[in-house]
Symmetry: C2
Subunit: 325 residues, 2 copies
């Protein structure tokens, strides 16, 4: 292969005419201008091959997902994503791989009006690091700390399919080909709820995105808000694939996927009971089946009630990037 | 070892009371407020073990350097660094290692008033990714594209010592223990020229920091500015250690280190001849030996003249993170 240096690589696949930035890719830093009256929201996620994705994942899906998980963080803040920085270590340089990765990344970026304004590439074990920069009207961000006893707890969509795809990979559950296909789609192409996050400003009292599993992520909201919660297992939205495993030999796997699966990137948010009609209206407007799954309580305990109203004795642990390695 | 999850890790070593951010570490994103009349400067660098640093490097130096290379990008833009995000993959969890890394990182961050506002940690091959966010008065950023024929070319300090330390590691050059110590200090503890970058706003016509080597990085300025340059080898600042190798058997290694060594993090900038007194005044004020090493020319060629005024026939290549692996 002819020697291609990293600058040429960046140019070829990732540099596009600057749209909304004062200065885009190609200098020591990018320059942007923030919108008056807004705060800047910033988040970073690192994805490591063999840990967050399979090394042989199709690169177009990987490009999509590397951005999607960051857009989901903006959604959880009620922020509008504007710009992104992409750093990556690659074990080797392959034009086709980079082209497909860029295709997946930019397809999602374009859907959300996000501009790639900078980055860094190097050789190394396959690792991706996306920094997302968004904006939110001053004081209007959705944080984890605003939930109050009595608030309803909502989910933006079904949980657990991504975890089922992984469970099938590791042979903890069997799926038909078409079941696996739909679960794998949830794993590879999560739909960040950006529009929902923006519409929940002034409606939701707290929000988080489900990246590490419902009980763990909801737990962060409860901790930050110094409250507890009771949720109904039966109320948690799920696919038909997962629902079919809730009774029988695979029930434990299905419950784990639902409560602690992670990689779902749905929003979990709380809203005062008085705002239920507003939440439902937002759901209709965005064509999302928003589901009320429980209620915020005083105290600090998270209680998950099964179909008979009994509290689950053991809550599956949240996904921990260290402990679960 | 007792199980420590990643959230506890982050809390223990990296979460500190928020200073200048609206919302710091601990939510789905950080929130900051930009200063009116300013643009936001953003840059990211990824450092991979075995490529940008030795896997067994002392973690305090690594913490320092991971931030230093990013501060250097802000310096090269004339931006004031304000906030940072830190993402890291770690092969295992060691409290002592993390504590030392955090010590090095925060020592430099505190020197520059930079606040760590977010991050991400995961298990994986040792990799660090720092995003730096700074501010620069609107329209005042130093870019690579402003050099004009006749401008003087300046360097903020000596080049090549970091490369000599690496050359000694790989036995391409022999250094005494004290020589190695001073070169290794240049490699591990580069001094980002942030104050200089800020003072050069309105004085310099273009700027870049020397991360990949002088000829390569100056080459980026020439390309962006569509100009050429002639520089004098003899005028390039160097340490006594490197100077002692410029004559004799190691001259080729010394010239390579000086012209293409990389990892120096000095600023290279251009300024109109009429601003020479202003540049010298900034140098005196900041106690930096700013050196004029050549002049911007029309055309696009970079000519490096040796001590006898002869053009070097072969310019050492800039460091390329792919090709040189």
């Amino acid at each position: 292969m002819a020697a291609i240096n990293e600058f040429e690589l960046i140019d070829r696949f990732f540099r596009r005419p600057s749209q909304s930035a004062v200065l885009g890719i190609g200098d020591d830093a990018a320059l942007v201008q923030s919108t008056p009256g807004h705060e800047i929201a910033l988040s970073v996620d690192m994805l490591v091959a063999g840990r967050h994705f399979f090394e042989d994942v199709d690169p177009e899906s990987l490009g999509y997902k590397a951005l999607a998980v960051n857009l989901s963080d903006m959604a959880a803040m009620g922020a509008k994503p504007r710009w992104a920085l992409l750093a990556g270590a690659l074990p080797h340089v392959e034009s086709d791989w980079l082209a497909a990765f860029a295709r997946g990344f930019f397809a999602l970026a374009d859907d959300h009006g996000v501009e790639l304004i900078g980055g860094d590439t190097t050789r190394g074990p396959l690792t991706l690091c996306v920094t997302i920069i968004g904006e939110v009207p001053r004081g209007k961000a959705l944080t984890r700390g605003g939930a109050s006893p009595g608030d309803a707890i909502w989910l933006s969509g079904p949980l657990g399919d991504a975890a089922l795809a992984l469970a099938c990979h590791s042979r903890r559950v069997e799926l038909t080909a078409s079941e696996f296909e739909s679960c794998e789609r949830a794993l590879l192409r999560p739909n960040p709820r950006v529009a929902l996050g923006e519409r929940l400003r002034g409606v939701a009292s707290a929000a988080i995105d489900i990246s590490d599993g419902l009980t763990g992520d909801l737990g962060h909201v409860l901790e930050a808000s110094r409250v507890g919660a009771t949720i109904q297992l039966a109320a948690i939205p799920r696919s038909a694939v997962l629902g079919a495993r809730m009774h029988g030999a695979r029930r434990a796997v299905a419950i784990d996927a639902l409560l602690a699966g992670g990689d779902d990137y749905e929003l979990c948010f709380t809203a005062p009971a008085a705002r239920t009609a507003d939440v439902e209206s937002v759901g209709r407007e965005l064509r999302l089946d928003l589901a009320s799954i429980g209620v915020v309580t005083s105290g600090t305990a998270l209680r998950v009630e099964d179909e008979a109203g009994q509290a689950l004795e053991r809550l599956p642990r949240a996904f921990d990037h260290f402990a679960d390695y």
